[in-house]
Symmetry: C2
Subunit: 247 residues, 2 copies
């Protein structure tokens, strides 16, 4: 069944006001009286709803659904600005894999230089992608996207996390395999974790030092070299496997 995210709190009767949502519901999907959809409001609960007036875009809530597909921990993926459309790729695939937030920052070895204007445009585009992917993968939450113009602003946010992992290629090459598995086995539901990934060139030694000084742990993600946009998918799938499939 089609799922839509609706800003605001759930009420017994809801009028949809967002233009894109209305367009998709009534022009693309051609919803008509008594058709049912799933609506997700700001409380992240899925609710079955039925059209009671298609001209006025009015729905009646039928019931709450017992469907929560969110990871038991809140995972933020932070990537050093990568080239091209790799963030777009990450926005889509990361949403399918359960990411809570997508952050990106200008890393020392980022090749691209994005100014405020470019970042605002890119953030808009990424938000559209996470919204679309969240609908399609039936998420309860739309991953928030934040692009930091300055690395300092990103660093200030690190203290809010329970654990910080630094995906470090050299750790993988050196055969470091144990830390992520150990940490995931100790994770408690609701914890907030941050995974930091470098751009194509990797994370600079100074950045490693900074992240470590803020509590970051260097981890390996297996022995194979992965591209910048592939490693976050590995991390998210591992978290799901450890906390959802092995539970």
């Amino acid at each position: 069944m089609q799922q839509y995210f609706v800003a605001g709190q759930a009420q017994d009767v809801v009028i949809i006001t967002d233009k894109d949502t209305i367009k998709h519901m009534f022009n693309v999907m051609r919803l008509t009286e008594n058709d049912e959809v799933v609506l997700v409001f700001d409380d992240h609960v899925k609710r079955l709803a039925k059209v009671i007036d298609s001209a006025e875009h009015r729905f009646e809530i039928i019931e709450e659904l017992d469907s929560n597909v969110e990871l038991p921990i809140e995972v933020t993926i932070a990537a050093g600005f990568p080239k091209g459309d790799k963030l777009e790729f990450l926005a889509q695939k990361g949403t399918e894999l359960g990411m809570a937030k997508l952050w990106a920052f200008p890393a020392d070895w980022s090749v691209v230089k994005w100014d405020g204007k470019k970042l605002a445009k890119k953030a808009d585009k990424l938000a559209k992608i996470t919204l679309g992917a969240a609908k399609q993968s039936k998420r309860n939450v739309i991953p928030e996207v934040t692009l930091f113009e300055k690395k300092a602003a990103f660093l200030e946010e690190l203290e809010q996390f329970d654990r910080i992992f630094i995906a470090y290629e050299e750790s993988g090459k050196e055969g470091e395999t144990a830390i992520l598995a150990r940490e995931l086995s100790q994770m408690k539901a609701g914890e907030k974790i941050l995974f930091i990934f470098g751009p194509e060139g990797g994370i600079s030694p100074e950045e490693i030092e900074t992240f470590e000084s803020k509590g970051g742990l260097k981890i390996g993600l297996g022995p194979r070299i992965m591209r910048a946009e592939t490693a976050p998918l590995y991390a998210l799938a591992s978290i799901s496997y450890a906390l959802e499939l092995m539970k």
Copy 2:
């Protein structure tokens, strides 16, 4: 250090004859006498080699390297023909994530219809992608690509596997989470496993029955709906996590 795959067996002195390899070595990378590279022959062992004659493309093997980045089990990914360039995507990302072989077959619900000519062309393209990705991710093995024109030919190959998993969306929705973790915990090094994924529309009930009759187990890959091309990456990352990071 740059890595190249070379057909044949290793000898003390090797002359490179493959045109693409020569071009990359001597035109792109501009190798010259005493420059070192890693060569991987048919035995999948990495060897350090040094240029002794750049005009004749002649190398001397210096030593075997103790670097094996292959998964401890041999994982074949089989996908129902998906739309567009999703197989190309899978060829690249699957290689980074340790896949041993990439297979694809015409599934009941495949939208695309590819004839023998198209398949041969596509297989060529995919082989180039797996080769490139295998070099970049420093694999010991280039994943083989096989595109089956008839489903019957694919089905005949199923008996060679120790375990067959059917990635079944409905299993995930119903909350099936235990089987893959249980099976991976029992896996022995060297086993051959097959993961079957449907095209965008999924696997038909008749196909499920056929795969089950050949020993396939339906598994869930977590509660979120993933696109056809994302689910195989989840599976490969989970296998790496279970068998390489948790070992």
